[in-house]
Amino acid sequence: MSLKTARALTGVYFVLMAFAVTWPGFVPFARVEPFVLGLPFAMAFIAAWISGSVIVLVLLDRVEKRHRDQEAD
């Protein structure tokens, strides 16, 4: 994947996350049930976005690193 695409996708993820955890994006998910791993749905929903952000950043870093290594060569 090119550097540009990776950066754009990362940006999209965090914009979506910002939308999903605030009004109005959060409203449909702001409920208690169903419970996920014992947590109220809204809380698990936010936790899932946080966990996803680790994965997105790791993937971005792999692309960025490859690009930096190429530049160094």
Binding site: E33, G38, S53, L57
Partner: protein, 485 residues
């Protein structure tokens, strides 16, 4: 032996250990200002990770978070939501700031800004605003330390004495060792906090309700309004979506603008270390979950703490845990408070002297270090004075400070990314934004949709910055090129 005596001994041992680590850390640091402020740019990944995590998670998260979960329910989710959002842009901004820092010798964020927009008054304004924002932040840490100690010693050590002792120790090692001490004590304290938080967050719901899900089911049945976002206000009415959402946004925007966090960009050993810290950062966020579980565990529990911020120590004491566990918890909460407080005190001094004082008078390196130490003491003393106010809420203290600190975001972005920005533009933007935020803070009844005053400030700040920049003469090309080249 009475429980509080055992607890006091454990706290004493913990504080002694922290002090030892803090003082030992200074031995290898060089005696220059760069050594004191930026730890000779030598932090590795492990230290960076815990420095950042432990500085972000403070008494605010450890005591204020559960306090909100307990009293305001789902409103506390805002605290969970903003960290990852606020940290992510730093994947790029951090290394960029670091490379500018290495090139021009910047050690604070104001230097980064003023390097691009030469203006002594801009520098002084940033220094003063930082200091104003730091005071409520340090206040909440001190109050947090005092609350924990008062609660677990059964009132034998009141808030004034507990916060005095804990912060006396912090000030000792910050004065002696600077950034090195902050790094190593935070690593130690960060590990400690994570372990204690998870252990208690899983234990209390099981012990009191038979599990996490049964706990939430019982709360949902008894107090359904509590678990539905955006939660409640302090008086128990439904909180507004406008406030909930803008609390997230202002905190996300402001998070990395805190001088003590932004300065980490200048302390990192290399860019990879910094990038990995950003990537791992959200894992620290997840540590808020057990902390909230502790707060929620208090909801249906008989009895009431003297204030919501006391819920965590209150729960610990009411559940008849062995004194050793209580002592360890207390040390964990103290470490949360102290590990942020030390970074704050250290940063407030570096910023105020580096960006305020030295812009107006020329003083030697040695005199600068003396000045910094004086500011550490002064900030500590002011915060200590405010920490005695019994009506303050830990979370609100920080949320208010974010109104100021978030105003640095457009300025920093303009300095690092927008070549057309001018000094007049950033200065007028910063003044307009800060004034707007201040007015809405002072007169909250005029807020649109109950939005956080910091966001309202940004809504004025950004157009002013762009408009005035475009209306004034662009910066000389060689200046801009020299800055970025």
């Amino acid at each position: 032996m009475e429980q509080w005596v055992v607890v006091t001994i454990i706290i004493g041992l913990y504080l002694a250990l922290t002090l030892t680590i803090g003082l030992m850390a200074g031995r290898n640091s060089s005696d220059s200002v760069a050594g004191y402020v930026a730890a000779d740019r030598s932090f590795g990944l492990l230290v960076m990770y815990f420095v950042t995590g432990a500085s972000v998670f403070s008494a605010f998260a450890f005591l204020g978070g559960p306090g909100w979960a307990y009293s305001r329910g789902a409103a506390a989710f805002y605290i969970l939501s903003y960290g990852a959002l606020g940290m992510a842009p730093f994947y790029w901004m951090g290394p960029r700031a670091a490379s500018l820092g290495r090139k021009h010798g910047f050690v604070t964020q104001a230097q980064l800004i003023v390097g691009r927009f030469p203006s002594r008054s801009l520098s002084a304004m940033i220094a003063v605003l930082s200091l104003i924002a730091f005071v409520p932040y340090v206040t909440l840490q001190m109050r947090g330390a005092g609350i924990v100690i008062e609660a677990v010693t059964d009132g034998h050590i009141p808030i004034w004495l507990g916060s005095l002792v804990a912060y006396g120790i912090v000030i000792m090692y910050v004065l002696r060792s600077g950034a090195m001490a902050v790094g190593w004590t935070n690593t130690f304290q960060g590990i400690f906090m994570v372990v204690i938080a998870w252990a208690l967050g899983l234990y209390l719901p099981h012990r009191l309700y038979g599990g996490i899900r049964p706990m939430f089911e019982q709360i949902a049945a008894a107090r359904p309004e509590l678990l539905a976002p955006p939660g409640l206000t302090p008086t128990g009415d439904p909180w507004s979506w406008g406030a909930y959402s803008t609390f997230i946004l202002v905190s996300a925007v402001g998070l990395m603008m805190w001088p003590h966090l932004f300065m980490k960009a200048f302390t990192a050993k290399d860019d990879d270390t910094m990038r990995r810290t950003v990537i791992l950062f959200p894992t620290f966020q997840l540590f808020l979950i057990p902390v909230f579980l502790i707060g929620f565990a208090g909801v249906l529990f008989a009895g009431e703490p003297q204030a919501p911020d006391f819920i965590l120590p209150f729960m610990i004491l009411e559940t008849d845990l062995p004194a050793v566990v209580v002592g360890l918890f207390c040390a964990g909460a103290l470490s949360a408070s102290m590990s942020t407080g030390d970074a704050l005190l250290h940063a407030s001094a570096s910023v105020f002297v580096g960006d305020g004082v030295t812009k107006f008078v020329t003083i030697s390196e040695k005199a600068q270090r003396t000045w910094m130490r004086a500011i550490v003491l002064l900030t500590g003393a002011i915060a200590y004075y405010f920490a005695q106010d019994p009506d303050s809420s830990l979370v609100l203290l920080l949320a208010t400070a974010y109104g100021i600190i978030s105003q640095f975001f457009p300025t920093v972005v303009a300095a690092m990314y927008w070549k057309r920005a001018t000094t007049a533009g950033v200065v007028s933007g910063l003044v307009a934004g800060t004034l707007t935020a201040f007015l809405f803070w002072r007169f909250p009844e005029y807020k649109l949709y109950d939005m956080h005053e910091g966001i309202l400030g940004l809504l004025v700040h950004i157009p002013v910055l762009i408009g005035v920049s475009l209306a004034t003469t662009p910066q000389a090309e060689e200046h801009v090129e020299g800055y970025f080249a």
